[in-house]
Symmetry: C2
Subunit: 414 residues, 2 copies
């Protein structure tokens, strides 16, 4: 039975969330749901006890994530749709929570600061979990960034290859060009650039597990002579290169370090080279959910285009092309979540059920965020102020596969 | 003969310009040039008298433009190449002049402020010069913005049509959609959208001459029922529309009015519509040359992408696509300058030789600025936060002509 305190808390929680059309029930009263507007909700959130209810009222985002991971909250119905509904209604109340969100965000910024040392700790916590774990639900090449689906029905494996080609085509990568990659994950893009485009790649990463895996792959594919994997911070990148590329790392650089990041790029490609950064961003400034920052991605932040201009403006870089692949990340996450669910038992055995539930929530929440427009995926191609290799139009990006660059390189190696 | 004062002034002027490889000679000594580094300069600047030399040393940019217009400075050699050289070397000294440039810019901002009334004055001065004048050197459709050259050898007429299609394709314009255009020039894009895409267009402009011409064209082409030309300020745009478009007007809005501009867009398309803005911008903040502001474009400013985010961020607009067409504006200006030179006698008869020289300098200087990377041309496609009409990829923009939208509409009208 609902006590009047429970009812007050329930109303408060629903108000914070902008009164989404969901049912909220407590533990043993699981039959008695409370539709806020009398409408029949498509999802019901079952809260195991009053203590969790109180925590939710105090700090909804963190308490919800933690209680879901601990099994003290259950979601009956379509979890992604539930999260979409809540994210939509929460947009309306976001302004009210803005101040608190900012203050907490500064506090977390300090705790999780992305200095060379802080970054190593932050990156270790996420990316060094275990290669076997990521193999369970990523594509065969282990690409852990937004894919590019030429059509919505493309497979995840094809879409990840298409993404790598999309990046290389935007850069108009030429045989024997020197590329430096900042944050190379398990090495798929670096290997692709060398194998398919004939580039000479130096790829940096501070995740030990990922670098070890990438080196193994390079050896296996006979590319060790053309791709060098360096276990080091992006700040230590040195030497002149033709091209700078960074896919899915800027989120971990931290707002305070954008000028430093830009300095690294400028030191690398000067006023003559070209580059591409690919990252999760936002339409307007707002930090990641504090639960995501605490449990999943310490130190991460999704910048707006205005914020990210700190990387380019001080160095007179020319922004040539910005593409928003928001829908492609939603599609990528659909694939990841489906594969994750298919392996959830195995994940539970590896890290325990709390971990499995937390990661389900992270993947489902990210999917819901991209679907509702809370998160964006930006690809920015840019060039030094005096670069002369700027393509006349972008039409070459959309020519049929196996043309231009690929043909050129295959020709050169024959 | 050079006096020691002349030599001192000459050295000072060349130093301000970053010591470009040019010759500087005074009036009757036109044979004796002074190559700064002993190298043979490709261009020689002939200054008629000491008074002009002194003015140049005090306020180089304004004095140079005014003296060139007055015939007190002549340029022997390739004028555009000369301007490119000077713009390149001046980039290095830009930081030194930054403070003075900023203070003067604030002063001019105040003088030329883009309030509804100020805008009317500023726009009148440039765009109401005379339709017959612009007809001398624009394409047949009177499009006075950057064209889009599918190949570098396309004609200006074809490239202006291609630009209009490029804009419509980025917007995925559909038959019977409602479009509002802010700053419609002589109406070419509004007419194109109605004729080729079946859109219903309301087009705003505060230039009386342009609106009169546009209405005439609409009548002539039998499109008066589908395109309404409104002689009014963008701030007075009202009513819900599907699409907002503005090509070559943001430069005249003024930094202080970007949020207001964004508010107008949001009032028009809400969270569900889409839009495109096309404008001259910069890699890093710097006002237009004070001579350009005084003599050619009062109140104009080329924003960076960071500055222009004030239009989008407060309204939660999603930036979908940014394209930099810098090289296309250089090509457009080549065409305009060539046509202008072919009609320069006629221009002199219409407005006098000072005017003709001033406009030659304006066109040649703009061409040189785009070639040297001092100016950029940004096209930004965006959508309301809840817009569902976002194309899956940009491939449709690059499909062969006469496909997609055009076919659809021709089908609908048959």
């Amino acid at each position: 039975m609902f006590s009047s305190t429970d009812q007050w808390l329930t109303r408060k929680i629903l108000a914070i969330a902008g009164n989404p059309s969901i049912g909220l029930v407590i533990g043993r009263d699981a039959d008695r749901s409370t539709p806020p507007n009398g409408s029949k909700p498509s999802t019901t959130v079952v809260i195991s006890d009053r203590r969790t209810l109180a925590k939710l009222a105090l700090d909804p985002e963190v308490a919800f994530g933690d209680a879901y991971a601990d099994g003290k909250i259950q979601i009956r119905g379509d979890m992604v749709r539930f999260l979409e509904d809540v994210l939509r209604t929460m947009q309306d109340t976001a302004k009210k929570r803005m101040r608190f969100a900012q203050i907490r965000s500064w506090w977390l910024d300090w705790l999780e600061n992305n200095s060379a040392r802080g970054s190593r700790k932050n990156i270790h916590r996420h990316y060094d979990l275990s290669n076997d774990f990521y193999k369970l639900w990523l594509d065969e090449r282990m690409v852990y960034t937004c894919a590019y689906f030429p059509t919505a029905s493309a497979s995840l494996e094809d879409a990840q290859v298409a993404k790598m080609d999309h990046v290389c085509r935007k850069l108009r990568l030429q045989p024997r060009e020197k590329v430096v990659e900042a944050g190379c994950g398990w090495g798929a893009l670096a290997l692709h650039m060398a194998k398919r485009y004939g580039a000479a790649v130096r790829a940096f990463n501070i995740s030990h597990e990922q670098i070890a895996y990438a080196r193994e792959q390079a050896k296996r594919e006979g590319l060790a002579g053309r791709v060098e994997f360096v276990e080091d911070d992006y700040r230590n990148i040195s030497g002149r290169q033709d091209v700078f590329v960074s896919v899915g790392m800027l989120e971990h650089v931290g707002l305070n370090h954008y000028e430093e990041f830009g300095r690294t790029i400028h030191r690398t490609i000067g006023d003559w080279g070209r580059g591409l950064v690919h990252f999760i961003g936002r339409n307007r400034p707002y930090p990641f959910s504090p639960w995501i920052r605490k449990r999943i991605f310490p130190g991460a932040y999704p910048p707006t285009l205005r914020e990210v201009s700190r990387v380019f403006e001080p160095w007179n870089f020319s922004v040539l092309d910005v593409e928003n692949l928001q829908m492609h990340y939603a599609k990528t996450l659909e694939h990841w979540l489906n594969r994750f669910e298919a392996s959830v038992e195995r994940v539970s055995q590896m890290f325990g059920p709390e971990f499995a539930r937390a990661w389900r929530l992270y993947l489902a929440g990210s999917l819901a965020s991209f679907r509702t427009g809370g998160l964006q995926l930006f690809q920015i191609a840019f060039a030094g102020a005096n670069c002369r290799d700027i393509p006349w139009t972008r039409a070459h990006i959309y020519e049929p596969q196996q043309s231009v660059e690929e043909r050129k390189w295959m020709h050169a190696t024959r």
